[in-house]
C-alpha cells in the first residue's frame, strides 16, 4: 500500500523541480537547439533547391547550345543548297540564253538568206525580162524588115481585134 501512496515530500519536490527544469531547459536548451536545427534544415533545403535549379539551368544551357548547333548546321546546309541552286540556275540560264541566241542568229541568217534569195530572184527575173525584151526586139526587128510581113502582122492584129 505504501508503494502506491504518493508521499507529499516527493510530490512537492518533484513538482517544483520538474517545473523549474521544464522552464530552464525550454529557455536555455530546447529553444536554441530547435532553432539551430530548423536553421540548418532550412539551409540544407535551400542548398538542395539551388543545386536542383543549377542543374536545370545547366540542362537548359546545354539544350540551348544543342539547339544553336542544330540551327547553325541547318543554316549551313541551307546556304550550301542555295549556292548550289544559284549555280545551277546560273548555268541553266546561261545555257538557255546561249541556245536562244544561237536560235535567234540562225533565224536571222535564215531571214537574211531568204531576203537575199528574193532579191536575187527578182534580179534574175528582171534580167530575164530585159533579155527577153531585147531578144524579142532583135527578133522583131529582123522579122519586120519587109513590108509584107508588117502588113500581115497588122492584119492578124486587126483580125484579132473585134471592132465594136
Amino acid at each position: 500500500m505504501q508503494l502506491v501512496t504518493p508521499g507529499i515530500g516527493l510530490l512537492f519536490w518533484q513538482t517544483i523541480t520538474f517545473l523549474v527544469v521544464l522552464f530552464l531547459l525550454s529557455k536555455f536548451a530546447w529553444k536554441p537547439i530547435m532553432k539551430a536545427l530548423r536553421e540548418r534544415e532550412d539551409n540544407i533545403d535551400a542548398a538542395l533547391t539551388m543545386a536542383e535549379k543549377a542543374k536545370l539551368e545547366m540542362q537548359a544551357l546545354k539544350a540551348d547550345n544543342e539547339r544553336l548547333l542544330t540551327e547553325a548546321r541547318a543554316e549551313r546546309d541551307r546556304i550550301l543548297k542555295d549556292a548550289t541552286d544559284a549555280a545551277t540556275t546560273l548555268v541553266e540560264g546561261a545555257r538557255t540564253k546561249a541556245n536562244e541566241e544561237g536560235q535567234r542568229m540562225i533565224e536571222q541568217a535564215r531571214v537574211s538568206i531568204q531576203n537575199e534569195k528574193k532579191a536575187a530572184l527578182t534580179e534574175v527575173k528582171n534580167l530575164a525580162a530585159t533579155l527577153s525584151i531585147d531578144i524579142a526586139e532583135k527578133l522583131l526587128r529582123r522579122e519586120l524588115q519587109d513590108e509584107q510581113a508588117q502588113r500581115a502582122l497588122v492584119q492578124s492584129y486587126l483580125q484579132d481585134t473585134h471592132l465594136s
Partner: protein, 358 residues
C-alpha cells in the same frame, strides 16, 4: 565493458548483503526488496558508505531541519530525535516511550501520526542529481549549437541530435500535427527526464525515482493539464457531444468520455511506475535467490539472469520514456486536432447531415 559489468553486479550483490546484515539474522527478501524500491532518509551506496540526507519536517513544532544521521546512535541503532521517531521509512511524532504516537482514525483503525515530511530523501537527492545531469548535458549541447552554427553536430551533440529530431518528427509532428511546436519543450523535457532517471535508477545504489508513484503522478498530471488547457472546440465537442452518437445516449456517453479524460493520464502514471518498479523487483529477486538457497552454485545462474535482466532494463528505460512521450503527444494531438472536415467519420447520417435534411 565486461569489467564494468562484473563491478556493477558485485556492488549490487554487496548492497544486497548489506541489507541482510542490517536486518540481522534471517534474510528476508521481501523486506530487502521493498527497502530498495522504497524511499530512504539516507543514501546507502555500499556497506558502510552511507550519506545522511537532510530531513525537513513541518508540523506541530513548526519547521524542523536536521540531518538524518541524528536518528542513529553510535551503534547504528535507530533512536528518537527531537520529538520525532523513524519507523519503516517514515517519520512520526514520538511519545514518551520513544514509540510513534498513534491515533484512531475515522474508520476506527489505529494509525501513527507524523508531521508533513518535505525531507530531501534518497529519491529527492537522486532527482536533484538527475536535474544537474540534464542541465549539464543539454546546456552544453545548446552551447555547441550556437558555437558551430550551421555545421555538422559533433560529440555529445551528434548523439542527442537524432533523438531530439526523432521526438520532433516521429513523435510530435506525426501525432500532434501542425501545432506541434508549442508542445516540444514539454515532450523533450519529459522524455529526457524519464530516460535519465530510469538509467540512474539502474545504477548500483541508485534510487527508484521513476518507479515512485509520486513522480509519475506529477508527470501524468502535467500531461493531463496540458491536454485539458489546450483542448479546442472539437476536443470538448467530442467529449460532450460525440459526433455520430444519438442525443439520447448523452447521459451514458458524457460520463464515459469525462472518465476517459482521467484514465489516460492515470494509465501513464501506473505504466511508468509499474514497469520501472517491476524491473527493480525482478533484478533484486534474482539476487535474493543466492541468499535464499545459501549456495554458491546458484550464484552464476542468478548473475546470468540478472545480467540479462539488466540489459532488458536498459531497453525498458528507453522504451518507457518513449511510450510516455508518445502517448502524451497523442493526447495533445487529440486536444488540438481540427475535426471539422471529417466530423461524420464516413457515416452519411451524422448530426450535421441530419440537420441538413430537415
Amino acid at each position: 565493458m565486461k569489467k564494468i559489468l562484473v563491478f556493477l553486479l558485485t556492488v549490487l550483490t554487496f548492497s544486497a548483503q548489506a541489507a541482510e546484515s542490517a536486518e540481522g539474522g534471517e534474510f528476508n527478501p521481501g523486506e530487502m526488496i521493498s527497502h530498495h524500491i522504497g524511499d530512504d532518509y539516507t543514501w546507502h551506496f555500499a556497506d558502510g558508505v552511507v550519506l545522511p540526507l537532510p530531513v525537513i519536517l513541518y508540523g506541530e513544532n513548526g519547521l524542523d531541519v536536521f540531518l538524518a544521521s541524528k536518528f542513529y546512535n553510535e551503534h547504528h541503532e535507530v533512536q528518537p530525535y527531537n520529538g520525532y521517531v523513524m519507523e519503516h521509512g517514515h517519520i512520526y511524532y514520538a511519545n514518551e516511550e520513544g514509540e510513534p504516537r498513534t491515533k484512531v482514525n475515522e474508520k476506527g483503525e489505529v494509525e501513527p501520526v507524523g508531521p508533513m515530511d518535505f525531507s530531501i530523501t534518497k529519491n529527492v537527492a537522486s532527482l536533484f542529481l538527475s536535474v544537474l545531469l540534464l542541465f549539464l548535458v543539454f546546456f552544453s549541447i545548446a552551447g555547441a549549437y550556437s558555437k558551430n552554427r550551421g555545421k555538422a553536430p559533433r560529440g555529445m551533440q551528434s548523439f542527442f541530435e537524432p533523438i531530439i529530431v526523432f521526438i520532433r518528427d516521429d513523435i510530435a509532428k506525426t501525432n500532434i500535427g501542425p501545432k506541434y511546436e508549442r508542445f516540444m519543450p514539454y515532450l523533450l523535457t519529459v522524455f529526457f527526464f524519464i530516460w535519465f532517471n530510469n538509467l540512474l535508477g539502474l545504477l548500483p545504489g541508485g534510487a527508484n525515482l521513476t518507479g515512485n508513484i509520486a513522480v509519475t503522478l506529477v508527470l501524468a498530471l502535467l500531461t493531463l493539464l496540458l491536454t485539458v488547457f489546450n483542448g479546442n472546440k472539437s476536443y470538448w465537442g467530442h467529449i460532450f457531444a460525440t459526433p455520430g452518437v444519438p442525443k439520447w445516449l448523452a447521459p451514458i456517453m458524457i460520463p464515459v468520455e469525462v472518465i476517459g479524460i482521467f484514465t489516460k493520464p492515470f494509465s501513464l502514471m501506473v505504466r511508468l511506475f509499474a514497469n520501472i518498479t517491476a524491473g527493480h523487483i525482478i533484478i533484486l529477486s534474482l539476487f535474493s535467490l543466492i541468499f535464499i538457497f545459501q549456495s554458491i552454485a546458484i550464484g552464476p545462474l542468478s548473475v546470468a539472469f540478472a545480467t540479462f535482466m539488466n540489459f532488458l532494463e536498459l531497453f525498458v528505460a528507453l522504451l518507457q520514456a518513449y511510450i510516455f512521450t508518445l502517448l502524451s503527444a497523442m493526447y495533445f494531438g487529440g486536444a488540438v486536432e481540427e475535426h471539422d472536415h471529417h466530423d461524420d467519420m464516413g457515416f452519411g447520417d451524422g448530426p450535421h447531415a441530419a440537420q441538413a435534411h430537415h
